[in-house]
């Protein structure tokens, strides 16, 4: 009885301490009224007002969606493009935790955090687009499993992937809070979460493409192919890594005071390495695209406006950045690589919008284009993500070094696995 009381009062005091710390950390660090804060603040407020109108009076009040174009910018850009941009997390966790290439270890946390937030905000933006959002729990609980639906799969995998990403990211949060025991447990879960996360990513990156398989009669033949899922998966590799390069070079300037010596030192090396992987993935992508093109006998479509648009996408925004990446890593030109990354990102936006919006119902006389309201809400979602990202990076050891106790924990963990290994070696030696 007495010990119960003691532990209860201990827990209460711990909780009090946690909330006190948490609320003290909520306060902004640095100047509040910077131009960036004022502009994004206004965008988010406007977005919030628009969303109130949208939920009160229907999607049609602030969007240009119609019976012909049921999915617009919010799905085509926020979700389908945003998720491709978040692909860096699964590619890098594969390289670092599965292939154990330590070179990219310094940026793994920031990449995972970016991936996690991208899913929370961009996939979360899906909720804004739902006509009957209160039923969103139906495919998760209850008896309404639409297992024959690709969207069912994508929805579940989004959810599970967010969980996996959260676990991968959680040791950083534990370090921030000073929870040593929790951190040890969470760090132990990392490999499991990584394996789970990569598997889910493979499925839903391609799943986003598979959403359009049944729109066969609606997408221009230059963009429709039964290989859309594979093309989406392959392009998510260089989309994600280009985002890592792009985002990394901005973080490097904005969070100068937080960046650890290690990241600073290895930055160029990492960028060059990423450019190499991007170039490889893009080469595979171009090859697959060419294969689809030749097999589909699409020559005749080239001689039209759509053909020209297709060539712009493929040559200016895939082939050229591919060569830029190759030139960039061969002659170690960091700025050239960054330019290539920006071109690639534009190319991915074009590609995803082509499949989902631009070449969708290409035969329709009245075209869809987003309203200013749709654009503002999209910018508001991006702004909110940047605010949260900044808040976390300024507090947790994402770009900065982890605390010494955490480093020791990792070393001990590694040592344990080494002794385990050597013990098993001894055991093997003893039986032979």
């Amino acid at each position: 009885m007495d010990t119960n009381k003691k532990s209860l009062s201990f827990m209460i005091s711990e909780l009090k301490r946690f909330f006190k710390f948490f609320f003290s950390e909520l306060k902004p660090k640095g100047k509040v009224f910077t131009p960036f804060n004022i502009i994004t603040g206004i965008i988010m407020l406007t977005g919030a007002v628009l969303l109130v109108i949208r939920f009160a009076f229907g999607l049609g009040t602030i969007t240009n969606l119609s019976q012909e174009y049921p999915w617009g910018l919010w799905i085509g850009f926020d979700v389908i493009t945003g998720v491709a941009f978040a692909g860096g997390a699964y590619v890098l966790t594969f390289i670092v935790y599965i292939m154990r290439d330590e070179k990219y270890h310094p940026i793994i946390r920031v990449t995972v955090l970016n991936g996690f937030l991208a899913y929370v905000f961009y996939a979360g933006a899906l909720l804004l687009d739902l006509g009957r959002p209160w039923n969103v729990i139906n495919p998760i609980i209850g008896n309404s499993f639409g297992v024959s639906s690709v969207l069912f799969l994508v929805a579940w995998h989004f959810l599970l992937y967010m969980l996996a990403e959260f676990i991968e990211f959680s040791p950083a949060a534990a370090e921030w809070l000073g929870w040593k025991k929790t951190r040890k447990v969470l760090a132990g879960l990392t490999l499991g979460a990584v394996i789970f996360g990569i598997t889910l990513s493979t499925l839903h990156q391609s799943g986003l493409g598979a959403l359009y398989l049944m729109a066969k009669a609606k997408i221009h033949p230059l963009w429709y192919t039964e290989f859309i899922p594979i093309l989406f998966l392959v392009s998510s590799v260089f989309a994600g890594l280009s985002m890592v390069i792009f985002e990394g070079s901005i973080s490097h300037k904005v969070f100068k005071h937080r960046i650890s010596e290690e990241i600073h030192r290895s930055h160029n090396d990492i960028v060059i390495g990423l450019a190499k992987i991007c170039a490889g993935a893009m080469f595979v992508y171009i090859f697959l695209k060419a294969l689809v093109f030749v097999h589909g006998q699409h020559w005749t479509y080239l001689n039209s406006g759509w053909g020209l648009w297709y060539l712009v996408e493929m040559i200016v925004f895939v082939a050229i950045p591919c060569f830029i990446f190759i030139e960039g890593y061969q002659s170690k030109k960091i700025n050239l690589i960054k330019f290539g990354a920006v071109l690639t990102l534009i190319g991915i936006i074009l590609n995803r919008l082509n499949v989902s919006v631009i070449a969708f119902k290409w035969y329709e006389a009245v075209r869809y284009y987003p309203t200013w309201g749709e654009i503002v809400v999209t910018l508001a979602v991006i702004s909110a993500e940047i605010w949260v990202f900044r808040w976390i990076v300024n507090r947790m050891p994402i770009l900065s070094d982890m605390p010494d106790w955490a480093k020791r924990q990792d070393q001990i963990g590694e040592l344990e696995s080494v002794t385990q290994k050597s013990e098993s070696l001894k055991w093997k030696a003893s039986i032979t």
């Binding site: 119609s66 049921p70 309404s144 639906s149 969207l151 394996i195 598997t199 609606k218 290994k421």
Partner: protein
């Protein structure tokens, strides 16, 4: 064992078994359908009025001359429309509504099974499950499901073959109120039989094509016409494969990847780990 069977066996865990079962179910049960003979339609639009009345939608405009000037589509307020086409100086009237596919893309697309095919034939919508994602609209090859964009509680509206009337033993309102029997309700197999009968008995009056017999794997609504269906702006490039088939291969792949990938990744991870600790272990043991 061919590849498809193999994948289905491997993937019994989640999706595959359900898909297989659905496909079989739609083959077994005799579904109801509607036969629309465009050569008999007079363009009186009785079907539009009776449909609006039966389903509680606003009464359609009675300005037929004006309405017939443009090609109309069904909307969130009108589940069926009649269009006029002038072909070789003949006026042909064509009713449009949901085709009630044998294997509907909208139902396969629905992640809550709000849109589903009843075993009797009609494809119906359940508002208590629908989350308004509009993936059914993206998937439907005929662009039939419509969404209420100006409502806080929007519905997906489409022809449900007067599902409630059928439950009471009545027939769809449009079929009941057609004055010239251009709309016939019945078992789909009987309707195909009847349609073929009409084509064979009056070969000059009809083209030899029942639209909907094979399109997208067969539809519940069937059309007869005196001219080819392209004239009615019907899509004749949809193919004969049922649309859910397009995603089947992908969905079969899911359980395979879900089971094989983690094992593969774990093995890969272990192999890279072993290499590293091996050298360290060797150093430690003083070899």
């Amino acid at each position: 064992m061919d590849r498809r069977n193999f994948l289905a066996t491997v993937g019994t865990a989640v999706g595959a078994s359900f898909i297989g079962r659905n496909a079989k179910a739609s083959e077994k049960i005799e579904m109801m359908g509607i036969l629309i003979d465009t050569t008999k339609c007079l363009g009186c639009r009785s079907c539009e009025y009776s449909c609006a009345e039966a389903n509680g939608y606003p009464e359609p405009s009675d300005d037929s001359d004006k309405l017939f000037n443009s090609h109309r589509k069904t909307s969130e307020n009108s589940l069926t429309v009649v269009n006029k086409f002038v072909i070789d100086e003949n006026e042909i009237y064509v009713k449009e509504q949901c085709m009630h596919c044998a294997q509907p893309a909208c139902a396969a697309a629905c992640l809550t099974r709000a849109m589903h095919k009843t075993k009797e034939g009609p494809v119906v919508w359940d508002g208590s499950k629908c989350m308004g994602c509009r993936f059914c609209m993206i998937s439907c090859p005929f662009d039939i499901p419509k969404f209420e964009y100006f409502s806080a509680n929007p519905k997906i509206s489409k022809c449900v073959m007067c599902w409630e009337r059928l439950a009471k033993g009545e027939i769809p309102a449009c079929a009941e109120n057609c004055p010239n029997e251009a709309i016939v309700f019945g078992k789909r197999s009987d309707l195909i039989h009847e349609a073929n009968n009409r084509i064979y008995s009056e070969p000059d009056a009809y083209v030899k094509h029942i639209y909907g017999e094979h399109e997208v794997g067969g539809t519940g609504v069937l059309y007869l016409s005196s001219v080819s269906f392209e004239n009615f702006k019907f899509r004749t490039d949809l193919g004969e494969e049922a649309y859910p088939e397009f995603t089947k291969e992908f969905l079969y792949g899911v359980p395979v990847i879900l089971t094989l990938f983690p094992a593969f990744l774990l093995a890969l991870s272990n192999s890279t780990k072993r290499e590293k600790t091996f050298t360290e272990g060797e150093g430690g043991n003083g070899h």
